[in-house]
């Protein structure tokens, strides 16, 4: 289903794909998330998150042409879709608003 909300781990994964400059694959994403969060992240979890994100329409994947690095085999590359980007931005804006509210000490 498209247009759903993002879970925390999904958000990390989505942002990692974006941060890695789109057209990245699972291994860098795993390494990025692990480094960014400081906790062990399993490859299975990354696959699952990518699959869910793709299902929701937040990322899209494509089979890349063979690269030299992986012994000439093709692999699945991921890129964030405009919808994914909008959703992540919206999430970020909502958080920001909340933090601003907290900083200003205003009652909602």
């Amino acid at each position: 289903m498209k247009g759903e909300r993002l879970g925390e781990f999904e958000e990390f994964t989505l942002l990692a794909v974006r941060a890695l400059g789109d057209h990245t694959y699972a291994v860098p994403v795993q390494q990025f998330v692990e480094e960014a969060t400081g906790r062990d992240v399993s490859l299975g979890a990354v696959y699952a998150a990518l699959a869910r994100l793709e299902n929701k329409g937040f990322v899209r994947s494509s089979m890349a042409a063979a690269t030299a690095r992986r012994g000439g085999k093709s692999k699945r590359l991921y890129a964030v879709t405009p919808l994914g980007l909008r959703t992540a931005r919206e999430l970020h804006r909502m958080r920001q608003e909340i933090w601003t509210t907290i900083a200003e000490g205003r009652q909602p």
């Binding site: 694959y25 699972a26 291994v27 795993q30 390494q31 062990d40 399993s42 490859l43 299975g44 979890a45 696959y47 699952a48 990518l50 699959a51 869910r52 793709e54 299902n55 994947s61 992986r70 012994g71 085999k73 093709s74 692999k75 699945r76």
Partner: protein
């Protein structure tokens, strides 16, 4: 190629992970991560992470809408496939192979239980649930003559002919009331005896059985002068003639006359008789077999009538039609049968004119509900046997459950791992059920072999007549399958539940198996086993004591030295007066023989069948009716308690007098003197007067301690038999008796039997019953002890660490023993108590087969309790002693 540093198990798990086209991609990703981690954090770290990554892939399959990126949804759509079942089966086979001892014990135990259960069921099936083989038996009715208060099934042959000829809408067929046994050899004295039933020509057409050889009897065979023909019972033909296919057209000699076999019934056809006969012939052959003139319109030979309702004809309409015939013919107003004497014994003699009882009409009783005299008895046996089967099965299941519980606990690690790897719980339950179900089915197959072997033995033990088919039939096979599956499922459910609950991963290697749930489960199982064994043991002991009791039962006379002589008078040469002369001469000569103390004629000598009259007096009340000579009482040794017995003069004059038994006098004339009372107060319509009371004698069935009997002067000399009391050894006397009878008329065939043989046959029944119960109890006890031993060994094994700590802290060996034995025996004690209560409640149904022994016999209960306590203590102490003898230092070092 360098050594692959990735964990081997993880590689294996990865290989069996269904990844489809994504495999290469995923493997590359994993490898890349592994290499990069190895470079940065070392091999150990990389290996650990690699393992958890592979596991995460498995878990991912289970949890998050299990799809790998790019994986098509359809791959996992089928939840249950044949491949899965096959996988379960191969896995089950592997698991069962891993612990052969446990599996062997389980399978053998289950197989024994299943085969005992199936054999019992088969016997029951033969005796109680036996199908009659009659097509559409719901339309079949017994034609009963109705009196003012009651109904009977005895008609005279002439009445049958009148009804048959006048009934337009309703077809009526006749069956001779008394089947008789005949020698099948040509010379008349050796060879097999075979029971024969005489039926009217349309009988088989009404029963509609198919035929397996030749043809069945037809009305043409029942015409006067027709060639004597026979139809054989399939079971008898298979057993006694080895299913000889060339039998049709050959002759079987009965009573010195050749009968041509025209056919064999289909397997399982028993007809209307309680005990199926070996062969059937037509009523037209009556005189050939029994002597006297052929049956005709004047014959009062007793027959019972059956009818088949035409489709759509209500029972009331048929009843009305027959009633009008009976009423217009004026049955019961002429010189017809006294209904109370119509229940004739032996070879179906002629009935003398007696006090007529007006027949008020005809009642039709559906044949299927006819149940009759045996229904209550059969129901009781059914209840007892099925309960016993159930208990043995419960025991066997409890045993298997125990073994599986123990192995399930041992397998918690495995199950935990499987769950961690993404197995759904349902899948694991299915796996465990597959395992126990295959145990059940293997045991069932083995049980089938046991049954095939056990069944003929059991059938012999309980003396199933050879006209019954004892091979297990479809119903028995179905029962075997059913209980095998039930045992498998029943045994597997509890452990799989427990195993799932306790499954953890990663789990400690030294898990104690002591979660409260499984502990309670085991205690309940042990208790159930103890309870079931208690019930079965009480049952067995009660029946054994009942059998012993029956052997000591006071039958009211001394059976040893008592002999019965029956004579079969040849075709038409003898009538009443001639038979009278024959017997008179025989009595005279027999009394002159050395060793003979006394002799007398009677229609029903002791234990030679019974002539029972059922009267309705509040409840059904059965009276044994016997026609005797005056000397019968003296010959048996019955004491005269009041009044007198009849004189020889009264017998010759057929005086309307009767002697009754003490028991009957007490039941019908409480607080009154029965002497001088009309017999009509007991047997409705009788004109006789009671002239005396004699002591009780059990002459028909040991089970019937009431021994209600009416004796009247004998009048039917063709149906008479002689009772002889001898002082000396009877073997020599039998020879001289044979010579004596031979000298009177060599044409009359004479059979001499010892009354004690008949008594022994009666005793065989309780003995067989108690043997069956003992067999069951022995199996039950063995199963319970194996189970108890196994559980105790397992539990004490699990408590090794605890025991070691206790000993290390100063507990003595006997302290530990006491603790362990107490813990193990507690559920046994609860179970025994529950079993004793159950047995006390349940044993009441046995009252009828205990021959006067109280079902609450305290000695029985005490004996069963002591045996079970001693045996379970033994089963507990052995493994406990081994456990208590552990070397605490060794165990504690392992920790």
């Amino acid at each position: 190629m360098t050594h692959d540093a990735r964990p081997r198990l993880a590689r294996l798990l990865l290989r069996i992970l269904p990844l489809g086209e994504r495999r290469a991609d995923v493997e590359d990703d994993l490898m890349e991560l592994f290499e990069s981690r190895r470079a940065s954090r070392g091999t150990r770290y990389a290996r650990r992470r690699y393992f958890s990554d592979v596991l995460s892939l498995w878990r991912g399959r289970r949890r998050s809408e299990p799809r790998l990126p790019g994986q098509a949804e359809s791959v996992r759509s089928s939840r249950f496939s044949l491949t899965d079942v096959f996988q379960d089966l191969t896995y089950a086979a592997r698991m069962l192979r891993r612990s052969p001892a446990v599996v062997l014990i389980t399978i053998v135990g289950l197989a024994v239980a299943i085969s005992v259960g199936t054999s019992m069921f088969s016997i029951l099936n033969i005796i109680a649930f036996r199908s009659t083989g009659i097509r559409d038996s719901s339309a079949l009715v017994s034609v009963m003559r109705a009196y003012r208060n009651g109904a009977g099934n005895a008609w005279s042959h002439s009445e049958y002919l009148q009804i048959r000829d006048h009934a337009r809408a309703v077809k009526v067929e006749a069956v001779l009331r008394d089947g008789a046994s005949f020698s099948t050899s040509r010379d008349g004295d050796a060879g097999h005896g075979a029971s024969l039933l005489l039926v009217s020509g349309g009988y088989f057409a009404m029963m509609l059985p198919r035929v397996s050889q030749g043809r069945l009897l037809t009305p043409a065979d029942d015409e006067p002068g027709a060639q004597p023909v026979l139809v054989l019972n399939h079971a008898w033909w298979s057993r006694m003639l080895a299913a000889d296919p060339s039998i049709v057209g050959r002759s079987v000699w009965l009573n010195g006359t050749p009968f041509v076999v025209v056919g064999v019934t289909e397997r399982g056809f028993a007809g209307t008789a309680d005990t199926p006969p070996a062969m059937w012939t037509t009523l037209a052959n009556y005189h050939v077999l029994h002597g006297g003139p052929p049956l005709d319109r004047r014959s009062s030979t007793s027959v019972s009538l059956v009818s088949r309702l035409a489709p759509g004809v209500p029972i009331a309409q048929a009843e009305a039609a027959l009633t009008s015939i009976v009423q217009s013919a004026g049955f019961g107003r002429g010189e017809l049968v006294d209904p109370n004497q119509a229940v004739g014994p032996g070879s179906g003699g002629e009935y003398a004119p007696a006090a007529p009882e007006p027949v008020t009409g005809v009642r039709l009783l559906p044949f299927a509900t006819r149940g009759g005299k045996n229904a209550g008895q059969v129901a009781l046996i059914v209840v007892v046997v099925l309960t016993a089967i159930g208990l043995v099965l419960v025991l066997a299941c409890a045993n298997v459950t125990n073994l599986l519980l123990a192995s399930a606990i041992a397998r918690r690690t495995e199950i935990g791992l499987r769950i961690a790897l993404g197995a759904r719980r349902g899948r694991i339950v299915r796996q465990l059920l597959t395992e126990s179900l295959s145990l059940g089915l293997i045991a069932g197959a083995l049980g089938l072999l046991f049954t095939v072997w056990l069944l003929p033995i059991l059938a012999g033990v309980v003396d199933v007549p050879d006209t019954f088919d004892v091979r297990p039939d479809g119903r028995a096979y179905a029962f075997l399958c059913f209980i095998s599956i039930l045992a498998g499922l029943g045994a597997g459910l509890a452990p799989s539940k427990g195993a799932l609950r306790d499954a953890r991963w990663p789990t400690s290697r030294r898990s104690s198996g002591h979660s409260t749930g499984s502990k309670r489960q085991r205690a309940v199982l042990v208790g159930a086993q103890a309870a079931a064994s208690m019930v079965l043991l009480v049952l067995a002991v009660l029946l054994a004591r009942g059998a012993a009791h029956a052997a000591r039962l006071d039958i009211g006379f001394d059976a040893s030295g008592l002999m019965t002589i029956s004579a079969v008078f040849q075709r038409g040469t003898y009538d009443g007066p001639r038979a009278q002369a024959y017997w008179d001469s025989a009595l005279e000569r027999v009394r002159a023989l050395p060793g003979v103390q006394s002799s007398a004629l009677a229609e029903v000598p002791p234990f030679s069948g019974s002539s029972r009259v059922t009267v309705f007096r509040r409840a059904r009340y059965t009276i044994n009716h016997n026609d005797t000579q005056a000397g019968y009482f003296e010959t048996l040794g019955l004491r005269v308690l009041a009044g007198r017995t009849y004189t020889p003069a009264e017998v010759s004059a057929r005086a309307p007098v009767a002697v009754i038994s003490e028991g009957l006098a007490r039941d019908f004339f409480p607080g009154e003197n029965p002497v001088g009372q009309p017999l009509g107060r007991i047997l409705e319509g009788s004109q006789s007067t009671i002239i005396g009371v004699v002591s009780n004698a059990i002459t028909a069935r040991l089970r019937d301690p009431r021994a209600a009997a009416v004796y009247q002067p004998i009048h039917d000399m063709l149906a008479a038999r002689m009772v002889v009391r001898a002082g000396g050894p009877s073997e020599a006397l039998i020879k001289s008796l044979q010579g004596t009878f031979q000298s009177i008329d060599p044409g009359v065939r004479v059979g001499i039997t010892k009354v004690s043989d008949g008594l022994d046959r009666q005793l065989a029944e309780p003995t067989a019953l108690s043997m069956m119960a003992s067999l069951l109890a022995a199996v039950a006890l063995a199963l319970a002890l194996i189970g108890l031993y196994g559980v105790t060994a397992f539990v004490t094994g699990q408590r090794r660490l605890e025991i070691s700590v206790r000993i290390a802290l100063g507990a003595s060996g006997s302290d530990v023993m006491r603790l362990l034995v107490r813990d193990s025996l507690r559920p046994v004690l609860y179970g025994l108590a529950a079993g004793a209560i159950g047995a006390a409640l349940g044993s009441r149904v046995l009252t009828g087969v205990l021959y006067g022994l109280s079902p609450a016999d305290p000695l029985t209960f005490a004996a069963a309790l002591i045996v079970l306590l001693a045996a379970s203590a033994g089963a507990v102490v052995l493994p406990t002693r081994r456990a208590a003898a552990v070397d605490p230092a060794a165990v504690l070092r392992e920790v």
